[in-house]
Symmetry: C2
Subunit: 306 residues, 2 copies
């Protein structure tokens, strides 16, 4: 196998109570990449459509992640990468993670799978470091493992796959506004109360239990965030309305995707997920902000060959 | 049925990362109670052996919990209660919870089960309020539901049963020293860092996932507490040694039971649990502090008729 074309899913991270630890892969939105094994050493981004991003490997998240893999490998050739971006940069649904993980996953396939998934997570995290300054794993882990993932610990890196109910859908609305990552980070408080923490880890426990037992109602009850959402949501115009309309339309729960501005809702079944999408749209139509809406089943496989 | 004799299990609360939310019921240590339906209204504690505790219903946790049930009931008679305490008060393994839950569970049986388990939790919490000033549910919930329980939320009260692997054992050592609940509470900080919180809810997620998937190793890795244990353990002489000896002897993880002074370890299999118990004993033998050791399978049923 010399060349491979892959689908690289969008991902929701910071799932409500699961700030910094819980993420999930989507199915209906993602990038496509073609990765080609070549004898010339190094990584070359030979094509990039859909977004205005650097082609130079060291400045591109896919390039940086790929170089991390190459460095750990005894393969003495190189790779060419074509990136067809469908996920908008800065949307909050793991645009950089899709590119980083797509590159390393495809390269690993072409090399005969010398690396484990957790090793691929580590390489892809280097792409995240380039994109945001922090080598976080909460988007790259679900993109690589599929489904819901828990990053239990970074040191040592410990990623746990969490199953989810069959009829669980995600609805995501991306209002076309820019929220700078630096802003969404700087508004966070470095201290929280112990009482807030207790609520949060109670909800994480409930969410994980609900996902294991296919208890949609418990999943919904646990999708609370008393720590980050009340602060970050201030940066997202219309957030409170979108959330209340989504819940009114039948969503199990609703929160900020990543560091925003996208807003996600989880729903039981496609019909409700579509209805929730409509209710979210109306809010931004009223405000006069453009938007994209994605309705997706949970992607349980992660990156795949297409 | 006029009279019932019940076993009321000891419980471990504040399970490492699950501070204030996660508890588990034990099988080999617990109180016994006899509860008798009588025509005379009210609750009378007619016998109490094993500990020096008040007999007056309003001053006894079993009495207070029972009165809370009576008040919600249309039954116009009363109950006599005999309490045979085996769990030492102040040991940190749910002594008051055993009495509160035993009373209300037995009364509910004798009345033909008019109340749900979650209602019984509420009544028993009144006993906890008397014992500690706080109507917490993290000991009464596992005593009533059996196994591991997660108190996801207090408002509304939401208790989730969590399964556990068959070969999971708990070893508990109770050093015979007094740690005042007020002291163990006053040392807690009311603020924590967001980074500590993230570690904690990552571990709660890992622990719940490990319990669902019978992944003993994941259970062990997740039994970390970066928030409460480092502070409260200072009040328990020998804690660090007990923990390191328990881990050396093969325990999956080790932490403070309740607010101490008891220390628990979870182990895979009875043989390791016994070995861990021996290793814990040696520490207190060296220090010269008396102790009790309990080795127990997880009690998946909770309170039962004997």
């Amino acid at each position: 196998m010399r060349e491979i074309r892959v689908f690289c899913p969008a991902t929701i991270a910071n799932i409500s109570c699961g700030f910094d630890v819980l993420g999930v892969a989507l199915d209906s939105v993602g990038d496509e990449m073609v990765v080609r094994k070549v004898s010339k050493k190094g990584i070359r981004i030979t094509k990039l459509t859909g977004q205005d991003l650097p082609l130079e490997a060291k400045k591109n998240v896919a390039g940086v992640a790929g170089l991390a893999l190459l460095e750990a490998s005894d393969y003495d050739g190189g790779f060419e990468i074509e990136i067809y971006k469908k996920i908008k940069a800065g949307s909050g649904i793991g645009s950089s993670a899709a590119s980083s993980t797509g590159a390393v996953w495809a390269m690993n396939e072409l090399l005969g799978r010398p690396f484990s998934k957790i090793e691929l997570v580590r390489f892809a995290m280097e792409g995240e470091r380039l994109a945001s300054g922090v080598a976080h794993a909460d988007n790259v882990a679900p993109a690589l493992f599929g489904g819901f993932t828990l990053v239990r610990s970074y040191n040592p890196l410990d990623v746990i796959s969490i199953p989810s109910p069959d009829q669980l859908y995600a609805t995501v609305i991306h209002p076309q506004i820019e929220v700078k990552t630096s802003d969404s980070r700087s508004v966070l408080r470095t201290k929280i109360t112990l009482a807030q923490g207790i609520k949060q880890w109670g909800n994480v426990g409930g969410l994980i239990a609900g996902l294991f037992t296919n208890d949609y109602d418990l999943v919904g009850r646990s999708l609370e965030d008393h720590i980050v959402e009340p602060i970050r949501s201030i940066l997202i115009p219309g957030f409170d309305n979108v959330k209340s309309e989504a819940l009114n339309a039948g969503a199990l729960g609703c929160g900020i995707s990543g560091s925003g501005p996208s807003i996600f809702a989880f729903c039981k079944g496609e019909a409700i997920a579509n209805k929730v999408g409509e209710s979210m749209k109306e809010v931004y139509q009223d405000i006069g902000i453009d938007y994209d809406v994605h309705v997706s089943k949970i992607n349980t496989k992660g990156i795949r060959v297409i």
